[in-house]
């Protein structure tokens, strides 16, 4: 069993494995980052480390609904980033052996797999592709 943290982007439900998250911060002050793409909301201070905040809905092309004040700070081993999402939900336990994996010839959709939870479909976010998109934007 694996613990995942679901969140919403527009009408869609996405999720991240709990192990890929370092922390969830609430109400942290956003500092403006000059000369950055519009997907960068700014930067926050997490325990003395400056972490940039990416507007995930805008980055993935969702409706620009107001984002949640809670940001997902990712594990620095994976990406030194914080993600702004539309809405956070509670942690759930899922069996990732039943994960339906996405086809590899379409890596740009940022979905690593789909989890069925109580007749709902939860997309597991592919952080590697998200990192690629951000790197592409920053170039």
């Amino acid at each position: 069993m694996t613990q995942i943290l679901p969140f919403t982007l527009g009408a869609e439900r996405y999720a991240l494995k709990l192990t890929s998250i370092q922390e969830v911060v609430d109400g942290a002050q956003l500092h403006y980052l000059p000369v950055t793409p519009a997907t960068f909301l700014g930067a926050i201070n997490v325990h003395g480390q400056v972490v940039p905040v990416v507007d995930l809905p805008l980055l993935l092309g969702f409706d620009p609904a107001p984002v949640c004040q809670r940001f997902l700070v990712l594990s620095p081993q994976i990406l030194s980033l914080a993600l702004a999402v539309h809405q956070l939900e509670s942690v759930i336990n899922v069996d990732l052996q039943h994960l339906a994996l996405m086809q590899s010839d379409e890596p740009q959709n940022c979905i690593a797999g789909v989890v069925h939870w109580h007749e709902k479909m939860i997309n597991l976010l592919d952080l590697e592709q998200v990192g690629h998109i951000i790197e592409t934007q920053l170039k």
Binding site: L18, I21, V24, D26, S90
Partner: protein, 427 residues
């Protein structure tokens, strides 16, 4: 010289006898008459004297008697036109007295007849006038009879009218009595109205006071409601704090879960605690949300209550105004009702006076009725009297005509007397 007839006869005899005796003495004295002839001559002479005297006497006597006889005959034929005139002899005698007496008789008769004639003419005229007057009077009395009949009819009509008036006045008196009764009832009703209106006024005053009490209660309630709203607001603030804490707890639990997950096997127990804390925080959050919803509902309801209290206050204010108006209306009603009561009393007094007057009028009408009946009776009597008078007038007319006829007859009778030209006055 006056010698009465008897004396004349005696004187004649004496003259004749004396002449015989004288002649007896005279003839022998004369001498130229023979003795034998003397007797004869004396006798002859005596006869001659006797004849002469006798003729003179009888002549004088019979002529006067004839005149008297003629006069008496004329008188017997009613001729009073002439007086007797005797020839004047040497000596007068009783024939003149007789003539004088006859003349006196004629004179008196003439006067009397003239008087009778004049009088009978006048009587005739008067009786004709009387007849005319009597006819006029008869006509007049007929007219009077007609007029009296009219009066009689008028009196009957008057009696009927008086009866009608009497009935009308009695009806009027009845109506007036009804009015009196009605106005008394009106007075009672208006007194009751006054009382009721006063009660109503007191009730409105009481209602006004109660309304004021209610208003102050409502205002107090409103203040309490405002205070209650403030308290609810404070609870809301507290709940916000609680919600914040619950969210923070939730976040902490989430981060604890993340840490536990990162810790792997060692974080298992910690993850359970973090989940419990998260559940508690969720439960707290849910309860706080429930409380917030309740507070919102309560706030809405208290707002509505406040609004409805304001409405009530306005309505009560309006009601107070209405009751004030009602109170004024009641005062006006009391005033009017008291006024009406006074007027009703006045009406009662007036109608009582009217009732008395009507009774007097009824009495007067009855008196008039009696008088009219008396008048009718009197008129009938007058009518009868007029008829009698009319009959008397006709009799009078008849009598006056009769009188005129009698006067005519008298005139005819008297016209046998010829009075001559000096007494031809009447026509």
């Amino acid at each position: 010289m006056r010698i009465e007839i008897s004396h004349k006869f005696v004187l004649g005899f004496v003259v004749v006898v004396g002449s015989i005796v004288f002649l007896d003495y005279l003839v022998p004295v004369l001498g130229f008459i023979p003795q034998s002839m003397q007797q004869f001559v004396s006798t002859l002479g005596a006869l001659l004297v006797g004849l002469v005297f006798g003729w003179i006497f009888s002549k004088a006597f019979t002529s006067n008697i004839g005149i008297l006889t003629t006069g008496a005959e004329r008188l017997s034929h009613g001729d009073l036109s002439r007086t007797l005139k005797l020839r004047k002899g040497l000596v007068s005698d009783e024939t003149e007295d007789l003539a004088d007496s006859l003349n006196l008789v004629v004179d008196n008769l003439r006067k009397v007849v003239g008087k009778i004639r004049t009088t009978s003419v006048r009587v005739n005229e008067s009786s004709q006038g009387l007849s005319a007057s009597a006819e006029e009077m008869t006509a007049t009395s007929h007219e009077v009879a007609g007029a009296i009949e009219q009066i009689s009819r008028g009196a009957e009509t008057q009696a009927e009218m008086v009866e009608k008036v009497s009935r009308v006045i009695r009806d009027l008196a009845g109506s007036i009595e009804q009015i009196t009764a009605s106005s008394q009832i009106l007075a009672l009703s208006s007194a009751e109205t006054t009382k009721t209106a006063k009660d109503g006024g007191q009730l409105t005053d009481t209602a006004l006071e109660k309304m004021k009490l209610v208003l102050s209660d409502v205002e107090g309630n409103s203040r309490q409601m405002v205070s209650f709203s403030e308290h609810v607001q404070k609870i809301g603030t507290i709940i916000d704090v609680i919600t914040g804490i619950a969210q923070k707890t939730n976040l902490l639990a989430l981060n604890a879960t993340i840490e536990a997950a990162r810790a792997g096997e060692y974080g298992q127990g910690f993850a359970v605690v973090a989940e419990e804390i998260s559940k508690l925080a969720d439960s707290t959050s849910a309860s706080a949300g429930e409380i917030t919803r309740l507070i919102d509902t309560t706030r809405d309801e208290s707002l509505r209550v406040h609004q409805s209290m304001l409405d009530s206050v306005r309505a009560i204010d309006a009601g107070r105004g209405a009751i004030d108006s009602t109170s004024g209306v009641f005062r006006a009603i009391i005033e009017k009702a008291e006024d009406a009561q006074g007027k009703a009393h006045k009406i009662t007094a007036l109608t009582e006076q009217q009732n008395k007057n009507a009774t007097e009028i009824v009495a007067a009408i009855e008196e008039i009725s009696r008088v009219a009946e008396d008048n009718a009776a009197g008129t009938e009597q007058v009518s009868a009297a007029t008829e009698e008078q009319s009959a008397a007038m006709e009799e009078l007319t008849y009598a006056s005509q009769k009188l005129a006829q009698l006067a005519d007859e008298l005139l005819t009778t008297v016209s046998r007397f010829n009075l001559g030209s000096d007494a031809e006055a009447p026509a």
